[in-house]
Structures are given as structure tokens and as C-alpha cells.
């Protein structure tokens, strides 16, 4: 016998790399579970649902998932807008979803049914948390006085930069400029040129690693040898590959770092490297953990969506889920708080920053 879960993520289209990261994490977890005899003797099966990070596609796959009663829970979606579009279906049909990556604050308000039950969880911290965290880190740990903010004009980028800028203002970190870019952009020179005139000590990159790397390298080309700061969106080895030496002096907030990682985490990292020939990033780690959370909830709740949800909601302070990305504890809104760590690029490699805040 087998139990099924769905993974809804972008496997095609412009956001496909993120789906790829998530898929890798999920696959490793699922293989591990099945190698260990499955969940209560049942094989864990995954239904992959491509939604291109497109809200319309997400709203189409969601009822498809919801109607298939053999699917017990959903890992996904990757993008907040897709998650928001899919959400009403999960709430209505009563199937729990856990997103490894969607950080938009609005999700916390739209994920309850009329009885107040939460149907959507996430094992990633919200934008507001890490924005505040990085602002403090920049000011207090790195001693920066002025930063420029470069953000991707999407829900993630805006949410993160808003939190960052607000906190910066509060703690006296001077934000000398805010500029936007769009997904897939390759040329950032005009905005950077503008920044250069204000002479900041650092650039906070509120976006993902693909564009982040280009920003770093183009800043260097323009002669801006500054500190780069970012959220977990920058956490991917491709960042270093693409930015090359311009990646040095980059500080990234991440939910976990190898140095403080558990043995399981280290094992995962090795396995990931062996399978995919690259370093794991936070998306894969979170996806791995999200799958673990779902699997444990199914083990507890059995083949019953409602019970699975209950089991997921049950990961609270007294009963945390211990994953490779650290403790996951859901609050009453399905959000979780996680410790944040800082990684930095040294000699072409990510390493734990010497100074950590907590």
C-alpha cells in the first residue's frame, strides 16, 4: 500500500530553478523514508504538480489536488502569489499545505476556515522577520552606517525590503536609496550607478541569487567594493558561481548553517552533493523538512486529511519538529519562528560568518 502527497511547485517557466531546488529536497526525503520502510509500512508517493509560479495555474492544480482524496497533504507552493491563489481550495476541501518558501505575510490571514482551523503552514520565516534581522546585523555586527536597498519587484522582495528599511530607520542605519528590478533582469548598471553617487557602505539585495549575483558583479564593475547583504534568497552556490570574485563580502541570513548543523543535516548535505553535484540551499533544506513534517503528521494521523492537519498543527513549542534546518514550531497562524544565522562568502565559498547575532 502507499500514501500520497502532492508537491506543487514551478517545474517549468521562469521560476523553474526554484521548483528544481524544492524537488531535489523532497526527493531525498522521500527516498529516505521509503528506504526505511515507508510510513507505517506504506510507501510514500509524490504527485508532482507544475504550476509555473503562476497564480492561475496554481488555482487550477489546487482543486485537482483537493479532489484526489488519496492525497493527504501538500508540500507547496513555492511562490507566495501562487500559494495565495491556491489557498482557498485547500481551506475549502480540507487538505493541509505546507510551503517551504512562501514568505508573504498575507498568507497568515487567509489560511483559516470558518471554524478557525489553519490549513496552511510554512517552515520558513516570514519576510518581516529576516528583514529586521539583517538590518540589525548590518548596523550592530558589521557596523555599517549607510546602505542602499535593491529589491526585486515581487511580493518577496518588497516584503523583505519594507521590513529591512523600516528597521534600519529605527536603529539609525541610513538607507541612501531604494531601487527596484524585475525577475529575469540582467542589467543593473543604471540603478547601481545611481547608488554609487550616494556612496553607501553596503547594498541590501532583497531578491534571489540569480539576479543577486549579477548585481554583485556589476557593482564591482562599477567600482563599488561594498558589502552585500541579503535574505535567504541569496543562499545558493550558484550565487558564487555567477558572481565569481564579486561575491566576496556577501552576508546572507539563513535558517541554518553547516557549522551548527546536526549530524542529520551534515548527512543530508553530503547526500545532496553526491546526488546533484552542487551544494544544498535553503529551499532544498526547507523542502526536505517540509516533507518530513508531512510524513510525520501522516504517521501520526493516518490516512485522514483532517487528522494529518491536526498532527501538523500539533508541532508546537512542547512538541517541535526537529529537522535538519533546526526546530520548527508552528504558532496559531501556521507560521514558524526559526533562529536565523548569517553566512558569508569567503574565498569563493559560503561559510558561517564569524559574528552571529544570537
Amino acid at each position: 500500500a502507499s500514501v500520497k502527497i502532492a508537491v506543487a511547485a514551478p517545474f517549468t517557466g521562469a521560476a523553474a530553478p526554484y521548483g528544481d531546488n524544492v524537488k531535489a529536497g523532497v526527493q531525498i526525503k522521500v527516498d529516505e523514508i521509503n528506504a526505511a520502510g515507508g510510513i507505517n509500512g506504506n510507501k510514500l508517493e509524490v504527485v508532482w504538480m507544475d504550476e509555473q509560479c503562476d497564480p492561475k495555474e496554481a488555482a487550477t492544480v489546487a482543486p485537482k489536488i483537493a479532489q484526489d482524496k488519496s492525497i493527504l497533504a501538500v508540500v507547496g507552493h513555492v511562490c507566495s502569489s501562487a500559494h495565495l491563489a491556491a489557498l482557498p481550495n485547500y481551506v475549502r476541501a480540507g487538505v493541509a499545505a505546507i510551503s517551504p518558501t512562501a514568505t508573504n505575510v498575507a498568507i497568515s490571514e487567509k489560511n483559516q476556515d470558518r471554524a478557525g482551523k489553519v490549513w496552511s503552514f510554512r517552515n520558513v520565516y516570514r519576510d518581516d522577520f529576516q528583514g529586521v534581522f539583517m538590518a540589525r546585523y548590518a548596523k550592530n555586527m558589521l557596523g555599517l552606517n549607510s546602505v542602499a536597498v535593491f529589491y526585486e519587484n515581487n511580493d518577496y522582495g518588497i516584503g523583505l525590503k519594507d521590513a529591512f528599511s523600516a528597521e534600519a530607520k529605527k536603529i539609525g542605519l541610513n538607507v541612501v536609496g531604494e531601487e527596484a528590478y524585475v525577475k529575469g533582469a540582467q542589467d543593473f548598471a543604471p540603478q547601481l550607478t545611481k547608488f554609487r553617487a550616494a556612496n553607501p557602505e553596503g547594498i541590501f539585495i532583497s531578491g534571489y541569487y540569480g539576479e543577486g549575483a549579477l548585481i554583485a558583479s556589476q557593482a564591482k564593475q562599477l567600482g563599488m567594493d561594498v558589502v552585500k547583504l541579503g535574505g535567504e534568497g541569496l543562499d545558493n552556490v550558484d550565487y558564487i558561481k555567477l558572481a565569481r570574485d564579486a561575491a566576496e563580502k556577501t552576508y546572507v541570513a539563513v535558517p541554518f548553517i553547516e557549522d551548527v548543523a546536526s549530524p542529520e543535516a551534515k548527512q543530508f548535505i553530503e547526500k545532496f552533493k553526491a546526488t546533484y553535484k552542487r551544494d544544498a540551499d535553503y529551499m532544498s533544506v526547507n523542502a526536505y523538512d517540509a516533507t518530513g513534517i508531512v510524513a510525520e503528521a501522516i504517521a501520526k494521523g493516518g490516512a485522514d486529511r483532517e487528522k494529518v492537519r491536526e498532527a501538523m498543527a500539533g508541532f508546537n513549542a512542547s512538541n517541535p519538529y526537529m529537522g535538519i534546518g533546526g526546530k520548527t514550531v508552528f504558532d496559531e497562524k501556521g507560521d514558524c519562528e526559526k533562529p536565523a544565522f548569517v553566512k558569508m562568502v569567503i574565498d569563493g565559498k559560503f561559510a558561517a560568518a564569524p559574528k552571529q547575532m544570537n
Binding site: 517545474f11 517549468t12 517557466g13 523553474a16 504527485v47 508532482w48 504538480m49 507544475d50 503562476d54 497564480p55 492561475k56 488555482a59 487550477t60 492544480v61 482543486p63 485537482k64 483537493a66 479532489q67 507566495s80 502569489s81 495565495l84 491563489a85 489557498l87 482557498p88 481550495n89 475549502r92 476541501a93 508573504n104 498575507a106 490571514e109 487567509k110 519587484n153 515581487n154 511580493d155 522582495g157 518588497i158 516584503g159 527596484a180
Partner: protein
């Protein structure tokens, strides 16, 4: 003639019963409703691209305008959908006419690129004017459609409460169906009229049309207006149906998708637009279902999708329904004329 009419009626009745059939899950109804949204869009676009022959690459702009008009007015003022539908359509029409002003002189691909730029500007506006649209954060939690006839029922019988919140796919399926049928009939009637003929004349030869006494500019503006209002209508339906909007839903890619539906169906043929939408949306979903069964990963879906599009065009280069102005042939006046001509032995 009469046979096809019977078939059409039977088909319509069959569609009506779909939600009660065993296979009609929420997913199926959702996909069918989605098809109907695209049917409306395709019909709207077909007016400009099929009837007057101007390549409009920015149609989705009106879709977005309609959706946000409806979404924002719902969220801020709680207006009823029944009021919003005409309002959004009107707003779409205003923008359609406004867009016409600068583009009337343009021809061919220059028109195409300006319309394209227009829709990009709409998306940029929706993305960047966060104070109004919440930008990329989108508009989550738009209220579903509500049908409130309690004022009427209270008058009839104080016990009754005719108040329905449209939850689930079935009511939207019927709303969508009503919209498709209504707009289809409406366009078919316009098509088979003085206005429609003027449009076709412009499509075939603008100079000859002008020489036949048609004010080309005005009829273009009318076409833009009608087309835009239909786009906006589809948008306002979408807003209350998906209950979530974000600017990304109105990227230019959507314009191309709708254009593909129109061309695949047959330029200038409304029935074709219906077929085109059904085929392209269904294709995506069928592939989603079929490919994994053939052991192909989710990533291959669009390889096959693209290939099938190419193949359809290869074997149906004029689309499924190549005939233009075919509504006219079903006009009773024309049928009657044909009959008398035949009786007189002239034809």
C-alpha cells in the same frame, strides 16, 4: 440548418447538466470555468484581431483593468458583483476607446507593438502603484460572488431568505456559461449587422471600405470599445471567482495565449474562438494528466504543448473554423432569400 440547430440545443442542454454528472469534480468544473473565461477573452480579442484584422498584442491589459476594477471595488466598497460587472465593462470600454485614439493611424505590426506596450504599462501600473493595488503582494481574499435577493424574498414571504454566497465551482460554472452564451449571441448579432459588415470590410480592405462609405476610424473605435469591455468583463468575473489577483496574472504572455486561441480557432470566427480556447486549456490539463502516466516528468509538459501547437497550425493553417462572416448565413432574412432564389432557379 435546422439539424445543426437541434444539435446545438442538445449540446447546450448537455453542458447544463455537467455539474450533476459523476465525473464533475471541483477540478473538472474549475477547468471548464477557466475555459469559459478564456472563451470570453478569445471572443473579445477576435473582434479586433479577427473582425477588423488588427493584431492586438495587448488585449490582456483590459482583462487586468476589469479584474482590478472589480477586485478593488469589492474590497474597498463591498460593491455587489452584479453592479461591478457592468461597471468594470464600462471602465474597460473607456480604456479601449482611449487606447484607440493614438493607435488608429497605425497599421500592422506597429499597431501590435503599441498595444503590447500598452498592456505592459498596465501591468507596470498594477505592480508599482502599491498604494492602490497592493502591487506584487496581490489582492488576496476578494469576496466571492453573492446573489442577494433577500429583499425580494422578504416581500414575498418573510420566512424566505434568498441569499447565496457562491462557494465552490458550480455556481461559477453556470455564471461562466451564461456569460459565454450571452456574449456569443451578442457578438454573433453584431457580426451579422451593419456594424459587423463594416468591420469585415475594414479587415478586407480599409480603403475600399472607406470608399463604400464606412467611417473606418469610428468603426475601429467601436470595435476597440466592445472588445475591451468584453475583456474587462472576463476580468471582473475572474476576480470574484479566483478571489485572488496579482499583476503577474496579466503578463503579456496571456495576450499571446488568447491570440493563439483565436488563431487556432479561426480568425474572425466566433465558434472558432470557443473551440480554440477549449482546445488550448484542455490540452494543458490533459497533458498534466497523461504525461506522468506515460512515465514522462512534469517538466516535459510544455515541450509537448509547444509541439502540438505547431502541429495544429501545420494541418489547420486557417484554424479550425476558417470561415468568416458566417453568422450572416444563419440570418432568417438570408435563409429566406436563398430559398426564394433557389425556388426561382437562379442559384
Amino acid at each position: 440548418m435546422t439539424i445543426s440547430k437541434t444539435i446545438k440545443r442538445a449540446l447546450f442542454l448537455a453542458v447544463l447538466t455537467i455539474p450533476f454528472l459523476p465525473f464533475a469534480s471541483d477540478y473538472v468544473l474549475h477547468v471548464l470555468t477557466l475555459i469559459m473565461v478564456y472563451m470570453v477573452l478569445a471572443m473579445g480579442l477576435n473582434i479586433v484581431t479577427g473582425f477588423i484584422g488588427m493584431l492586438d498584442l495587448g488585449f490582456v491589459g483590459f482583462y487586468g483593468i476589469g479584474a482590478y476594477t472589480c477586485g478593488l471595488l469589492t474590497m474597498t466598497y463591498g460593491l455587489s458583483l452584479w453592479m461591478l460587472l457592468p461597471l468594470a465593462a464600462l471602465n474597460g470600454m473607456v480604456w479601449g476607446v482611449l487606447r484607440a485614439a493614438p493607435t488608429l493611424r497605425l497599421s500592422g505590426d506597429y499597431f501590435a507593438i503599441v498595444t503590447f506596450g500598452f498592456s505592459q504599462l498596465v501591468v507596470l501600473f498594477l505592480t508599482n502603484e502599491i498604494w492602490l493595488t497592493r502591487g506584487p503582494l496581490g489582492l488576496p481574499g476578494i469576496e466571492p460572488a453573492i446573489l442577494d435577493l433577500s429583499w425580494l424574498s422578504k416581500m414575498l414571504n418573510p420566512e424566505w431568505d434568498w441569499y447565496w454566497e457562491f462557494i465552490g465551482e458550480t455556481p461559477y460554472f453556470y455564471m461562466g456559461l451564461a456569460m459565454v452564451v450571452g456574449i456569443f449571441l451578442m457578438i454573433r448579432r453584431i457580426e451579422d449587422s451593419r456594424v459587423g459588415r463594416a468591420w469585415f470590410a475594414i479587415r478586407e480592405d480599409p480603403l475600399a471600405a472607406a470608399s463604400a462609405g464606412i467611417d473606418v476610424q469610428i468603426y475601429k473605435v467601436i470595435a476597440f470599445g466592445v472588445s475591451a469591455s468584453i475583456g474587462a468583463l472576463a476580468g471582473s468575473f475572474l476576480a470574484r471567482w479566483t478571489m485572488f489577483l496579482s499583476p503577474d496574472m496579466f503578463q503579456f504572455w496571456e495576450s499571446f495565449l488568447v491570440l493563439c486561441m483565436v488563431v487556432l480557432g479561426g480568425l474572425g470566427n466566433m465558434t472558432g474562438s470557443l473551440i480554440g480556447s477549449a482546445v488550448l486549456i484542455a490540452l494543458g490539463e490533459i497533458l498534466r494528466e497523461v504525461l506522468p502516466r506515460l512515465g514522462m516528468p512534469a517538466e516535459t509538459r510544455f515541450i509537448v504543448y509547444g509541439m502540438i501547437m505547431v502541429l495544429i497550425m501545420r494541418f489547420k493553417p486557417s484554424g479550425f473554423m476558417p470561415r468568416i462572416a458566417d453568422a450572416a448565413l444563419q440570418n432568417p432574412i438570408i435563409i429566406e432569400l436563398r430559398r426564394t432564389l433557389k425556388a426561382k432557379g437562379i442559384v
